[in-house]
């Protein structure tokens, strides 16, 4: 089969085409028809080269098609709107996650204060240190939702359609899948580092406070952060439906 040759030719033909869904669809349509024509010709007894030349010859001037697709924005408009909607949803998801984290931080704070009160009132077991630890952890947790909110605030649909088209072109240069894979790699190494730090942190805190009975809670915090990273992966890199 000479399929590759036709596909390669189409790749060359579309090299300078504006990158948008219309041209990608046109390319697929052209390829499907060209392949069928090629198969018909070879079945009728044409040699491979001859059939290839005939197929190529019948395509004509495709640049006139590109020209039209560059200026006609109706179609892009629909995708732009869809994108804007998705951005809105992502923003909402980020805000929800941030709110949840603030609640978590609040809970940690309340628990450590309760612990303090309990210790003062009844038995004194390194209560102050633990309370301090709780406050520090609560503050650390707050860092995440604050940065998420700052990021969410930055998600704004580009005002002009032209901005969107430019952005699309940039996005297309690296496929979604590739970006997802790269993010996963980074996430993996980050998590490895995080767990190492958590173990170190655990021993430091435990030896200084001697509160071994409660410091294991640090690991729960680590698990929470890991879940958060997973949620973020899902928000930013939804699995392609194909």
């Amino acid at each position: 089969m000479d399929n590759l040759r036709i596909r390669k030719y189409m790749d060359q033909l579309f090299e300078n085409a504006p990158i948008n869904r219309r041209t990608l669809e046109l390319k697929e349509e052209l390829i499907a028809n060209a392949l069928e024509k090629y198969n018909d010709l070879t079945l009728r007894g044409y040699g491979e080269d001859e059939a290839f030349q005939l197929v190529i010859g019948s395509i004509g001037d495709v640049r006139q098609l590109f020209a039209e697709m560059g200026t006609d924005d109706d179609y892009s408009q629909a995708y732009y709107l869809q994108w804007a909607r998705e951005a809105q949803e992502r923003k909402a998801a980020l805000t929800a996650v941030s709110a949840g984290l603030f609640l978590l931080a609040g809970a940690v704070l309340v628990i450590s204060l309760l612990l303090y009160w309990y210790n003062v009132k009844f038995i004194y077991i390194h209560g102050q240190n633990l309370t301090l630890l709780g406050i520090v952890i609560a503050l650390l947790i707050c860092i995440v939702p604050v940065s998420l909110l700052v990021y969410a605030h930055k998600i704004q649909p580009p005002v002009e359609l032209a901005d969107y088209t430019a952005k699309q072109a940039a996005l297309n240069s690296e496929s979604r899948k590739q970006r997802r894979r790269r993010f996963k790699q980074i996430k993996g190494s980050l998590e490895g580092m995080m767990w190492l730090l958590i173990v170190i942190f655990y021993f430091i805190i435990s030896f200084t406070t001697q509160a071994w009975y409660i410091t294991w809670i640090i690991f729960l915090g680590g698990a929470a952060v890991e879940c958060l990273l997973d949620a973020l992966t899902k928000i930013f890199f939804p699995i392609d439906k194909e």
Partner: protein, 115 residues
Amino acid sequence: MSITADIIRGHTETIILASLMEHDSYGYQINKDILRKTDNRYELKEATLYTAFRRLEQAGYITASWGDEKGGARRRYYSITQEGRKACEQGLLEWKEAKAVIDKLLELDQCGEKS
């Protein structure tokens, strides 16, 4: 020969609509139909065909949908809309009128056989 090709090209959109009146179709099949109906003498260039598809789609005369061919590229099928049927009839009327006018003009110009 080249006059015929010009005229065909000039009526690309109506020809496509007429072809879709018979049944839903895709680019290559429409071209095959044209070849068959003209005894293998004429076919449209791909670029002409697809430019016309886009224009017809935009005008709302045809709608497109993807076939579910496995392995390899999918076909893009087109079907005619109610608007498209009207446009096709209109195109036919215009052609009939043009034909009548040219017939008359050539007769009057006396290059036809004199009786």
